[in-house]
Amino acid sequence: MTLNLCVLTPNRIVWDSEVKEIILSTNSGQIGVLPNHAPIATAVDIGILRIRLNDQWLTMALMGGFARIGNNEITILVNDAEKGSDIDPQEAQQTLEIDEMHNLACLFVNVK
């Protein structure tokens, strides 16, 4: 019995295949999900998602969102997600500093 995991962001589908187990970090702590878990709808905090496929653990960084677990189907909707293997530590540090200045809306908003 395997779980079907779908990690979606507004820009693309990050993960869509079967896994054995996941560890998800929510607002109220980390939860581990095994097959035949009870149905849950939960908010996901900014943190790390661990995925186990056949005794090998993969990590993914999630930028907050929601998760729905039910019927051996896990759907995680997040604002953004990055696979651990795709992250370069130097680049991440630089991006952190740049992003701290980029938190402004860049639209013209005409409020009537």
Partner: protein, 325 residues
């Protein structure tokens, strides 16, 4: 030498005998009826006028062809993004259901349109649907408000529904569309507008030639609770144990906001795709029309030119034979 002089004479008389057809030509834009509008007694129209028209029609054709290429390349860029964002709202619909028929008191119609024109009829269809919705849902207890994205819908809706407009947002596509921008926008809308149900009206992009106006419904958390309790599609929601916050209500609130921003993102991308696709087909048909017009004008030009040469020849020959005989 003499023939050249006579030819020059013929041409000098031409503008004097046909002043009227020139103005008649200028006032009517249709090429085929050029000759019908000349007063009787005049043989031909000046070729200069026809040549000017041909030059301007050719320029228009070049411009519309270029616009079509630009729209095609922009479409390609946005299309991948739109397709990737489509997968996002399906889980929401699976969890919360899509209830276009939910009966609510406060409807807010979010109309998404383009800023630039020359894109066919997509903006008019969106506005028509928004207005139709407004009419259906305005009664003693219910009310409908508008939130407008894009200049074109603003121009059309400001005319008759000015008092119902809550928020207008334009120049959305100045920077390439991304989720952060749209989520900030969604935040603004949620903060400033009271709603029970949000109806997002946009043109869904099915293919380069087909854009279907669609309405996506996002319900506010209170309505979701109400519908969940009454059973039906949302009855399953209660079977989920909700974790990750203080109360279920808070989670549902966050979820509704997230759903709104995801659906908005998808809607804005799809509408942008539809806009580029509609512009492509509009520019394509207009360059084809320009080509047809150019063909007809070329025929007229040749006929005019041959007629003027024939006239000159006749004058020369009759002049020569008059000299002889």
């Amino acid at each position: 030498m003499a023939m050249a002089a006579l030819r020059r004479e013929g041409r000098r008389f031409a503008p004097m005998i046909s002043p009227r057809p020139i103005t008649a030509l200028r006032s009517s834009p249709l090429a085929p009826s050029l000759e019908d509008e000349c007063p009787i007694g005049v043989r031909y129209i000046s070729t200069q006028v026809v040549r000017n028209r041909m030059k301007s029609v050719k320029n228009i054709q070049k411009i519309t062809k270029a616009m079509k290429m630009v729209a095609a390349s922009k479409l390609r860029a946005i299309q991948t993004k739109a397709e990737n964002s489509r997968g996002l709202w399906q889980p929401f619909t699976a969890l919360l259901g899509d209830l276009p028929s939910a009966n609510v008191k406060k409807n807010v119609v979010v109309t998404i349109s383009s800023d630039k024109g020359l894109c066919g009829g997509i903006n008019s269809t969106s506005v028509k649907i928004s207005k139709g919705f407004h009419k259906l849902n305005s009664g003693p207890e219910k009310e409908t408000k508008y939130v407008i994205l894009g200049e074109k819908a603003k121009a059309q809706l400001v005319r008759d529904s000015k008092k119902d407009i809550e928020l207008i947002i334009t120049e959305l596509q100045k920077n390439p569309l991304n989720y952060t921008q749209v989520s900030v926008l969604a935040d603004e809308i949620l903060k400033n507008v009271e709603y029970d149900a949000l109806r997002i009206v946009f043109n869904k992009f099915h293919s380069v030639v087909s854009f279907v106006p669609t309405v996506s419904t996002v319900l506010s958390p209170e309505i979701v609770e109400r519908e969940a309790e009454s059973g039906g599609k949302l009855g399953d929601l209660d079977s989920y144990e909700v974790e990750g916050g203080e109360t279920k209500g808070e989670i549902l609130q966050n979820l509704a906001e997230f759903q709104f921003s995801c659906v908005m993102f998808n809607a804005v991308l799809e509408n942008a795709c539809s806009e580029q696709g509609a512009r492509m087909s509009a520019m394509d048909s207009s360059s084809r029309n320009a080509g047809d017009m150019l063909d007809r004008l070329t025929l007229t030009y040749n006929r005019t030119r041959q007629a003027s040469i024939t006239t000159e020849l006749i004058e020369i020959i009759s002049g020569a034979s008059a000299l002889e005989g």
